[in-house]
Symmetry: C2
Subunit: 683 residues, 2 copies
């Protein structure tokens, strides 16, 4: 696209305005007589290009002082507007992408080991011996999940993750179930992460506890605003804490391993109260421990959903990020589980000291390092929410482009972010946080079930995918995904059963509702399409029946005359209608009308019950009864006062009439506004 | 008005519809070609009369089930609609009028004696000796006030009371001050009366105290609904308690006098704790006692304000009611003061027993009679509010007809009541009640100052009135009103000074604000009139410049074609505008448009920042710059879904555009709605 200078496009010797910046565009319509030229004379707002007009940023500049202040504030808060063509520049690098998409997954390393141990210890200290086997099992499932998502990314580089795999391979219903499960999980991830971070914060500063909900909503707002500025800026803001946390934990692990290797094995710091149980170490308990630890698998979906956020080649960059993320998480999770069990860290019954915290205290003591780690942990727990802010709006935009969600979700905002999705996520997550009073234990049972439903469906979808394609080695791949589907399916069932009464039932109850809603949205859009669409090859000739034009006149004044003047300028049969409350008023109006000499026929309706809108509507109905197919145009004079509050001083009859006419078939309404301010300026 | 039968007005042999109930009205426009006949074919909704069409009650019948239910409920709550011509039948007789307009004044007999005694006793028991002289002084002022209001009623039989007298004789500002003072006092009367009644109720049933505010709002709602049914019905509902109270007190007084006369003087029942003070009996204390007792003068204004509520002859009937009311009040007040002082009733320091209650207990004992009186007192205290519901809406309607209040105040509702005023009074009084937590002691200092300002101004106005007219005996009348003005003026000052810090300052602060607001409302209406009014003898010839017609088209579908079709049917130069977010979209749209073959020229605007409304508005501005005087008609296709919630699924671009265009000069908007439901029914 070349940028034409104003001078080139200006028609020399424009007779009306000598301003050299004027641009003049003329064309004849050739169909109707009269002055048919359309001129564009503001080059600061528009530039004429070959075949179209380009609106510059100047066309968006506000014209009022309040508008300018709002615009300035908007700019400070969200940054300057971005062009659609700048979208590529707004994408994220692998380093930033890792920070954005990994924060959810990486943050779960802070509690995945503990969740596993907390379940196993119910079978006594001996149960903890299973911590490492279960850790390894979870990492194997992670391997399967990551492998399949790598394939998903390659197969569907436009994003959509579990939804698109399930939809393409298992049908739309399966796709919608996966999508609904993921949507719920994205909401919950935000609420749970923020609640978890708040718990870490209020453990350190108990005096903040009464402000918990407000702080949580504040955090959500900050993350939402950062994301409204665009994913790239959000990445820059949030990358630091993610890498700080990873580096801090890796440091603890390195020092721990080193001390173990050199034989300086430290004595474990004991928790305030050791948790121990007396249950039997049965298969169900082991499954529960596995399910609890599997929380560490959440967040792997986000890369596949948000693949379009990466620079080109998206699939390759996204794949590298996904593998790096998994490798980093695996290192942290394995290291923490290994060292914790090797050093004999115990689980705190009071839930005030985390296993990671005790491990760090054991390895590096109670100094500055420990506090940095604790702070980084609190921050990354909150930042896990940021992953949802990348995944959710992108999944929602794909669903919207498939017409399963309102189309607003597919629109990019001023900063090219999917603003509607970001705001919707923030609002619903904040409401969840308020409803559950920012309680982690209240929210956590609702969590993870959604993501495992999506895992299971996408693995199953991939089995079908391989079976269809029958590429080389498809049996191995299908078997691997089949195993993955079976394992994640089992985890789904275990999670659903063990957490059902604690709140998972809510998720299972709301999931079909969301699926149904998405289906109905789709049906609605489909019906509208069926109704509105015309074939691309259609040629139309415009023309219609002569309209009946009705001008309701409440009294004879300038505003009414303007409306009448416009009405008589339309093609159709014009008549005026006046509503009077009594017969004296009716005959007085008729007399006045006759004196006016407009030539427009008048009908006066006497409304003894002082109603205006209803008799007028019924009058139109009565006219329609005589010739239902004939279009009706109602011309309404409207009074526009200078100040909005002045509207309180005027009857809202015109407004009510318009509202009523809006839902009337075969009826167009013409508003002829009269501006009072004209007087003040021109008199 | 005679009722033509359908058969008479039917044109025989109507070719299209053989239904004998059809009425057919035809006329030719003679100016434009085409089918210009307007037929009205629904005789159940309209009847053709000579020269106009009469809308029957059938034209107001709702067409939807929800509408019918709402209408039925409305009917049960407020009664059936009344015709304007039935207004005379809705007026009240003297008996009902006395109950309505006297309840405020009569109810003050329940506490006027006590208020006087409570002040006097601050100078010790000896101070109480002044009770009777002050009672007589107050009754003399009452006599002057009533006499002057009788003259006001005769001079201004269309109502308006103190406002109209002050305005006509002392100028508009004085009138507005009187009006503002009365408006404030009407609000306060409602709040104070209801709070007072609630106090009596909660003294009897302390367990209702926590519900005080809710009960108060409920009482206000009941009184408002009764008044919305029309003053006549409100009178019927509320007459009983008023007369019951008066009869009960008169009975006590009669028995008391009888027992005093036959020498059976009863020993006074002592209050829980006798109130006594040690102040000096100075002039200021006496004035304060006078001012406190003068609360009994409130409510005399209402008859003069509401004179149009009476049957003809209004002035005579109103005058008789005013005199009867004053006589009844005087009897009660004088009797209570006399018996209370004669029997030695003392004032209760705990404020749980009233002087009237103690007097009744002394005279008739603690039996059923006493409890009936107490109940009647509680009810009439609340019903005093009803007087305001008669006075306020009528004063407001007069102010509105003088263009000092929004014109809604002057409109009669379905039941011919001034519904807007009734609702406004109820809402503001309820807010006052909530703000002051239904506390009598919080509200009472604000009370009475307004009515005394109005008294003073109307008395002064009458002095001027007599001085102008110089009728026979004008000097006596002027002197009498001059004395009245002086006395009520002194009372005003005493009330203002003694109650200033307690809350009267609020009334004095808000009064000029209300005056200013009324003045500004007037200025606004006057400006609008200046702008809009055309001389009654003007003859106009309609016609205007050829309009520029712009049809924004977001995509090519049926809805857009309907809008285009209508646009090309208008007289003017039509062009379509499409906004595209990128150049590819722009050229694709141009191609599609060309294939369509409408012949309508198209302008495509590329909006790289994805804004729609602003570039479109700027485009119109740019067109205007070329020819500012040429009218612009914007034709907008709108999609009307079957269910309102479906609008959530569609971009509100059309709505936002309409909103923005509404405030644009020289621009008419044509809405071409497309109804989705058409598909479901006709496919």
């Amino acid at each position: 696209m070349t940028d034409q200078s104003d001078g080139e496009s200006r028609e020399p010797g424009s007779p009306q305005r000598p301003d050299h910046r004027l641009e003049r565009v003329e064309r004849a319509k050739g169909r109707l007589p009269g002055d048919t030229r359309v001129k564009i004379v503001r080059s600061s707002e528009f530039r004429r290009r070959k075949g179209y007009v380009m609106a510059t940023e100047g066309a968006l500049a506000p014209h009022t002082p309040i508008g300018r202040i709002t615009d300035r504030l908007r700019g400070v808060l969200f940054g300057r507007r971005l062009r659609t063509e700048d979208e590529a520049e707004e994408r994220v690098s692998r380093i930033t992408g890792l920070a954005i998409f990994a924060s959810d997954n990486i943050s779960s390393s802070a509690y995945a080991t503990e969740e596993t141990m907390r379940t196993l210890v119910l079978a006594g200290a001996s149960g903890l011996a299973l911590t490492m086997p279960i850790t390894i099992a979870i990492l194997m499932v992670l391997g399967i999940v990551v492998t399949s998502y790598l394939q998903v990314i390659r197969a569907y580089p436009k994003g959509g993750g579990g939804y698109i795999v399930a939809k393409e391979n298992l049908g739309t219903l399966a796709g919608l179930i996966a999508a609904a499960a993921l949507l719920i999980d994205y909401f919950l991830t935000v609420s749970v992460s923020v609640a978890g971070g708040l718990l870490a914060l209020t453990t350190a500063f108990p005096e903040l506890d009464p402000l918990r909900v407000q702080l949580g909503v504040g955090f959500i707002a900050v993350i939402a605003i950062a994301n409204l500025r665009g994913i790239r800026e959000a990445g820059v803001v949030f990358a630091g804490p993610t890498y700080l946390y990873a580096a801090a934990v890796l440091g603890v692990l390195a020092i721990g391993f080193y001390r173990v290797l050199i034989g300086d094995t430290p004595a474990p710091v004991a928790p305030p109260k050791v948790l121990e149980g007396g249950e039997a170490l049965g298969a169900f308990l082991i499954l529960r421990a596995f399910a609890s630890g599997s929380v560490g698998l959440t967040g792997t979906e986000a890369v596949a959903d948000g693949i379009t956020a990466f620079r080109k080649p998206e699939a390759r960059n996204g794949g590298i990020v996904l593998v790096s993320m998994a490798a980093l998480f695996a290192t942290l999770f394995f290291g923490i589980s290994f060292l914790a069990t090797h050093l004999g860290i115990q689980v705190d019954a009071t839930e005030t000291k985390s296993v990671l915290g005790l491990l760090a205290q054991t390895v590096v003591g109670n100094g500055a390092y420990f506090y940095v780690l604790q702070a980084a942990t609190a921050v990354i727990l909150i930042l896990a929410a940021n992953t949802s802010f990348s995944g959710f709006p992108r999944l929602a935009s794909i669903l919207a482009s498939h017409r399963f969600l309102p189309r607003q979700f597919a629109q990019r905002g001023d900063r090219l972010a999917f603003s509607f999705g970001i705001i919707a996520l923030a609002v619903i997550a904040a409401l969840l946080l308020v409803a559950f009073k920012a309680s982690v234990s209240g929210l956590i049972p609702l969590y993870t079930i959604g993501v495992f439903i999506a895992f299971t469906l996408s693995q199953a979808g991939l089995v079908r995918h391989w079976a269809r394609k029958r590429e080389r080695g498809w049996r191995v791949r299908a078997a691997l995904n089949g195993l993955g589907a079976a394992v994640t399916g089992v985890v789904t069932i275990v999670v659903a059963v063990t957490k059902f009464a604690l709140g998972a039932w809510m998720v299972l109850a709301i999931l079909p509702v969301i699926v149904l809603l998405m289906w109905q949205v789709h049906e609605h859009y489909r019906r509208v399409e069926d109704e509105l669409t015309i074939s691309p090859t259609t040629r139309v000739s415009l023309g219609q029946r002569r309209a009946r034009i009705i001008a309701p006149i409440s009294r004879i004044d300038r505003s009414a005359l303007e409306a009448l003047s416009l009405a008589t300028g339309l093609v159709g049969d014009v008549s005026a209608v006046h509503i009077s409350f009594d017969e004296e008023g009716a005959s007085a109006f008729k007399e006045r009308w006759a004196r006016l000499g407009t030539g427009v026929p008048l009908e006066v309706i006497v409304s003894p019950f002082r109603a205006i809108t209803l008799p007028l509507l019924r009058y139109l109905d009565a006219i329609d009864d005589g010739d239902p197919a004939r279009p009706v145009i109602v011309v309404i004079a409207e009074f526009v006062p200078h100040h909005w509050w002045d509207t309180l001083l005027h009857n809202q009859t015109a407004f009510r009439l318009k509202l009523a006419l809006f839902s009337r078939r075969n009826t167009a309404v013409v508003n002829v506004p009269h501006h009072l301010e004209d007087v003040e300026e021109f008199q």
